[in-house]
Amino acid sequence: MSEAFIHLADVRKVFKSRKEEFLAVSEVTFDVQAGELVSLVGPSGCGKTTILKILAGIHSYEGGTVRIGSKESPFDPSKDIGIVFQQPLLLKWRKVLKNVLLPAEILGLPHKESLERAHYLLEMVGLQGFEDKYPHELSGGMQQRTAIARALIHDPKLVLMDEPFGALDALTREKMNLELLRIWRESQKTILFVTHGIQEAVFLGTRVIVLTSSPARMADNISIDLPYPRTLDMKTHEEFGKYTRHLYKHLGMEVGNSDKSGEKSAIK
């Protein structure tokens, strides 16, 4: 196997406030191969977002190594990273098309090519015909699709997604999961997908990396050997259940426990 696309080893991140130090990320080690879709899953506040921000170069880190790209294919963080956050963060005074073009404008990419690519991407995310709408005229799911198109406009090698569907309702979320898988296959990007939904993590990922909070550490790194293209049907398969059970266990949520506590509270 060739050199990994992303290589993290023993990464530590400490947030310092005046009074105390807070260890946000501790000894995180993992590799991501080019073209993978890796889910990072864990409870809120466990440092998933911090890891993404370290990879994006937004946060510094105190120890360990972070390497993206290789000698053969060098990586330029300013041009090769696309980001999607939980909120679409669209500019409300810009129409959809102009929102998608924002990174291209900032990077000074040639306008004509960017425009063509924007149209292509909007078609890919299923928003053809909505180029001239303002964000507030779109549904939440459509806004997030716009944000995904925006993250891809400059053809980045790596797409970082921080709970991109966390603010959507359950049905839209499942639909967006399928869409994302299709976009991933069409665009052949490497995607790092942060979520606290275990089902979502398994359903999407070629691999799932599990993080635990306090101490913020890596708990597991399993590859999901379910075939692509994945269908919602697979969520009912035994194989899928095995993975999710395994992950629940790792996050300290024994399957069956919640049922008992549910009974107790019902008796109260």
Binding site: K53, A56, G57, I58, P77, S78, K79, I81, I83, F85, Q87, L89, L91, W93, R94, K95, L102, P103, E105, I106, L107, Y134, H154
Partner: protein, 254 residues
């Protein structure tokens, strides 16, 4: 087509309601026994325009003071907000000073301005400026800080320059705030100019009101108030037009 009829209906209502108030005013004055010098009728008020009070000149003078003071306040307020935003140290040092200076009742400064600057259009413009400057500064300053931190992170990973962040994100994002401040400032600008004229002046609608008060020409005072209001309405209308231009659904290229 539908849009136009909607608009006509909307403005129709606005005109109708205003007319209604005038009619109630007229009826009240003619039915009740309120003396003319206390409450003139709408007709007497309009007729007072026939008196030789230099209406056009005085209205012009007050309008210059209001528009001038307001324009200065917008320029100064926006530029100071930009400076504060770009140089955080400046903000830390001078923002508290600006706020405490603002606590001075500007009306109380009127007599001082007259000592320092003599009286006339200039000092009145200055009072108008000083009174309506702060809401513009504060709202603009707040608007510039409004950009979502995650969005800023996003464009910073793209190595956006400070100028790009400013022109593409901060400035357009601050406009709704600026316009709300500018709307509040309209009323203050008018009040400031009139107060200046009350304290000392030899022309303007405020000056005229002080003059006709002596002769109890209430109808002329009413007319002056209406004209002052009209100046404010025109300025407000301009601000609304600008707001529609920048924030409406028309040309949205900022």
């Amino acid at each position: 087509m539908n849009d136009i009829s909607k608009q006509v209906r909307r403005y129709g209502w606005i005109i109708l309601i205003h007319l209604g108030v005038v009619i109630i005013w007229y009826l009240w004055v003619s039915i009740s026994k309120v003396p003319d010098y206390v409450m003139p009728s709408p007709i007497a008020t309009i007729l007072s325009l026939g008196e030789d009070y230099g209406w056009i000149h005085n209205t012009y003078v007050t309008a210059v003071e209001v528009f001038g003071g307001y324009f200065l306040a917008v320029v100064a307020g926006v530029s100071m907000a930009l400076i504060f935003n770009w140089f955080q140290l400046m903000e830390k040092m001078f923002m508290p000073l600006v706020v405490s200076l603002n606590m001075i009742p500007k009306v109380a400064l009127g007599p001082l301005f007259i000592v320092w600057l003599s009286y006339g259009i200039g000092p009145n413009m200055l009072i108008s400026f000083s009174i309506c400057f702060l809401p513009i500064l504060l709202t603009m300053e707040r608007g510039l800080r409004e950009a979502d931190p995650d969005l800023l992170d996003l464009v910073r990973t793209l190595r956006a320059s400070r100028w790009q962040i400013f022109t593409k994100i901060q400035l357009p994002g601050s406009l709704p705030y600026l316009f709300s401040g500018m709307k509040v400032a309209v009323i203050l600008a008018v009040a400031g100019a009139i107060v200046g004229e009350f304290i000392a002046s030899s022309e303007g609608l405020g000056y005229l009101m002080m003059q006709v008060q002596v002769t109890m020409d209430t109808a002329a005072m009413f007319m002056a108030v209406l004209l002052i209001t009209a100046i404010g309405v025109v300025l407000y209308g301009i601000v609304l037009l600008l707001e529609y231009f920048f924030l409406g659904y028309g040309p949205n290229e900022i």
